[in-house]
Symmetry: C2
């Protein structure tokens, strides 16, 4: 039986190959744009979202190619959000995954445009019959991704986060911000796998609850890393949130309170998988992976 480590490496490799094939070739007078899109998307991403889509889909014997192309579209969205979030007018980050952020490696205009290009390309991938022969399924995937990523999802979360320094934060408001900014796309990653696999309703509901917990967990571990981490470990500048006076769950719960919450969420996430038995082995082990900060 494959280990989770091996499975993750395998998925990351296949994701890079898929993105390499699906992103436009670098050519023509717009070469700089296409090069920038590839620089952002083909880096050392940990591919959590593709892992979730592929694992959720595999439980229901979903078509591998449909899963991989859908995961690539989700990864285009995730990548564009990082590129725009790193901009000087947003989080103003110089490093991402240990490398210069896109606007540092290229320039701001190219970073805005490469993000726009990746965002648009996600929908081009999903609308293509090669993703799924049934146009109804393609429309469901497009609608789901647009909702998760848009002005009622990820973009809304980022807006609330930007306003964070000036907004009086309470637990409910911060939890909602996390759910939108990080949770919505993680949740859709799992749902897309279940959708393509035509999973029955009870299975879909259990997976959605799992995904909700994983999203919160992931954001909380990230906030803990922000407080505790060293630049060498995270590959990006640390404690930017505190420096910006931003409120997150760690600043509200305290480090110990947050750690306790992480353990609780991890246990809940695994409970939601109980109904799948050994088929959900990797999804279950991934929870520990996130808790142990190996993601």
């Amino acid at each position: 039986m494959q280990t989770l480590d091996a499975r993750l490496r395998d998925i990351a490799d296949r994701m890079n190959a898929a993105l390499d094939q699906l992103l436009p070739r670098v050519q023509g007078p717009e070469a700089r744009l296409l090069e920038a899109m590839r620089y952002a998307a083909l880096g050392a991403g940990k591919r959590l979202r593709p892992f979730l889509t592929l694992e959720a889909g595999a439980m229901f014997d979903a078509d591998e190619s449909a899963l991989l192309r859908t995961a690539a579209a989700i990864e285009c969205i995730h990548t564009y959000s990082l590129v725009h979030d790193d901009l000087p007018c947003m989080d103003d980050d110089d490093l991402r995954r240990g490398l210069p952020t896109l606007h540092r490696q290229f320039d701001e205009a190219t970073a805005v445009l490469a993000g726009d290009g990746l965002l648009t390309h996600a929908f081009e991938i999903l609308s293509d019959p090669a993703t799924h022969r049934d146009p109804q399924m393609r429309c469901l995937l497009i609608a789901g991704l647009a909702r998760a990523a848009g002005a009622h999802g990820m973009v809304a979360g980022q807006m609330i986060d930007m306003a964070g320094a000036t907004v009086a934060g309470d637990m409910a408001a911060v939890a909602r911000m996390n759910r939108l900014k990080t949770g919505a796309l993680i949740q859709f990653s799992v749902e897309a796998g279940a959708l393509i696999g035509a999973a029955p309703d009870d299975a879909r509901h259990a997976l959605t609850r799992y995904a909700t917990n994983v999203g919160t967990l992931f954001q909380m571990v990230d906030d803990l890393l922000d407080v505790e981490g060293a630049a060498a470990e995270t590959g990006k500048a640390v404690d930017k949130d505190a420096a910006a006076g931003k409120i997150n769950l760690v600043s509200l719960l305290g480090v110990e309170g947050a750690r306790q919450q992480v353990r609780l969420l991890a246990a809940q996430a695994k409970e939601h998988l109980a109904l799948f038995g050994s088929r959900s082995k990797f999804l279950s082990e991934a929870v520990d992976f996130i808790v142990e900060r190996r993601y």
Copy 2:
């Protein structure tokens, strides 16, 4: 018989009503984002693209609601592109349609996010069964819009334009830039109408050629306005291109050469409509409208 003036006002009114209904309500902690999206989309836009979609579709008795929703999605894309193009790291414009640009009225981060939200929302609109009952048609519209707007279309054109000051421009390169930056979305606006109307092949080809000419014409008139116009007339700062050392067709052809080319393109555009007879009355008259700078 309605005049073109009345028809344009009618379409602009219906477009504003459609966008007002389709854009998210302003509420919640992300209210600033939603307000910004509405500020950008519900302004005094001239709605050239919706006019083209609705007129092209009307020639084939296409469903009005499908045309209107598709035109709204195209307008979301057009609007986001203006918001991002106006950013300080791009064209750095303070005025748009006589009002402060989005990043001047709100701030840069909000402008980036509102653009992202509008871009994403376009695909949410198109994926909705309310746009067209046939998912295959929805996928065709999504694929066409993504191609026209993305890294092989509008975004590529903007990238080339940004690099314009440093690139040795020849006529072919500038024409290609215009075709991508402005032409691709104008062409799709016409094609979408023909697609929804299930227009026969010869009609679609004629309309595509018309749209190509209109796109070039529109950009050339805009470049002429940039050189000749006064701030009061265009509602934005003038001769930014020349100030930035950018090359456009007017700087290559000279003002007189460009004017002559405008007349030629206008005549060609109308010729492509010959096959439709009086059904294409408004599409034909719109060409003169553009030439006379009433657009």
